[in-house]
């Protein structure tokens, strides 16, 4: 088991990352807090060794995505409208607010690959390893997600 200082360092390093992934999947603050506790508890209890900072970060991404999916599928999960989170988090910049809303409006199977590719700048091969799908499937999801973004936002900035 990792110690308290390692736990605090992990929270400092990855809390924003975990928050962003929760934002893609979840609809309220209470669920986000649950996922935070779950993910960082798994981190301190994880007995494996991370081979690099990149390995550790990819592990956090995958555990967070899986925790969000498990929560959404749980029988007792109650869903709330997303508007409260949007109001809390919405940017003051109209363009950015539009992009954020559009990404959140994508079907769930495109949201995480689009986020991981464009914001976290993972390659399709790396994304495939993180989310447990074939590389070709990730290419397909990126292409379709990109097409949806282009349709809603326009512009030529979605070619890769």
């Amino acid at each position: 088991m990792r110690d308290e200082s390692e736990a605090i360092q992990a929270i400092e390093r990855y809390s924003d990352l975990v928050k962003r992934i929760c934002f893609l999947y979840l609809k309220n603050q209470a669920d986000t807090e649950d996922i935070f506790q779950t993910v960082f508890l798994k981190y301190i209890l994880y007995s494996g060794i991370f081979e690099s900072a990149g390995h550790e970060k990819a592990w956090m991404v995958r555990v967070t995505i899986n925790a969000c999916k498990d929560l959404l599928k749980s029988f007792y999960h109650k869903r709330m409208l997303p508007l409260d989170m949007l109001k809390e988090e919405a940017s003051k910049e109209p363009e950015s607010h539009g992009l954020l809303e559009v990404v959140l409006g994508l079907p769930k199977k495109y949201k995480d690959v689009i986020y991981l590719f464009y914001y976290e700048e993972y390659s399709a091969a790396e994304i495939a390893g993180i989310i447990g799908k074939k590389e070709n499937t990730v290419y397909t999801l990126l292409a379709r997600g990109r097409a949806m973004l282009k349709e809603k936002i326009g512009g030529d900035g979605f070619e890769g």
Binding site: E4, D16, K42, Y46, R62, E120, A125, T140
Partner: protein
Amino acid sequence: MKDDWNNAFDQIRASEKLKTDTAAYLKREMEKRGRKKQIPFGYAAALCSVVLVAFLGMAGFRFYQTPVSYISIDMNPSVELSLNRLNMVVGVKSYYDGEASEADHLQNLKNKVYTKAIRMLLNSEVFQTSMKPDSLLTFTIVADLDEEEDLFSGIQTSSKDAGCESQYRCTDAATVEEAQNTGLSFGKYMTYEELAQYEPSLSVEDCQHMSMSELQGKINSHAHGESTEEGTLEDGGTESEGNHEGHGHSHGHGGESGHE
């Protein structure tokens, strides 16, 4: 363009309260686990005796019987194994032509370590009569992250003499739940989902009578055609050291490159 993404997502940050609350929660959990190690020896010895009796009793039976990991073995037919915390088989379900059954003829796999159960299954008449040189044997795991590596290793060792091509992958509890009542094992259902992305009109019923090699062949045909079209638009990518699906002996978890 990159600025737009940064502007959109940079604003999403964990609040100090969330970080502080999480740190406090972790501290409580660590203290709880630490306190468990500080029980006086005499009391601990007595407690261990009570725990041992309880384990041998009903609580132990429930512990033994509770599945925590699942392996779907798919060719055509399909078999799902449920494993307990000791990696012993506590449940067997078979799927053939859309019919799920408790597989009376495979109940001898129960209470075996999963590696032995897999060897027995692959040598059984059910699989031997269905296996051809061009068959595709697919193993799909649902397990805790820290169990996957060991399970993969055991499965690969147990199946190395299968006599046909094998592939290994992981999925999640959501896929298992979605697969229920479809007449497909969760491993075959995962392949159906992948093919359905290319063929939206494909139904579960269509897949029930198809072998894994037929399904995978269709996926490969579609993917080969699409990747040729999309490859020029994409970042060529680095060769991933940790692909989550593999053929033969390769598998992994997480990405390896640093993007901090």
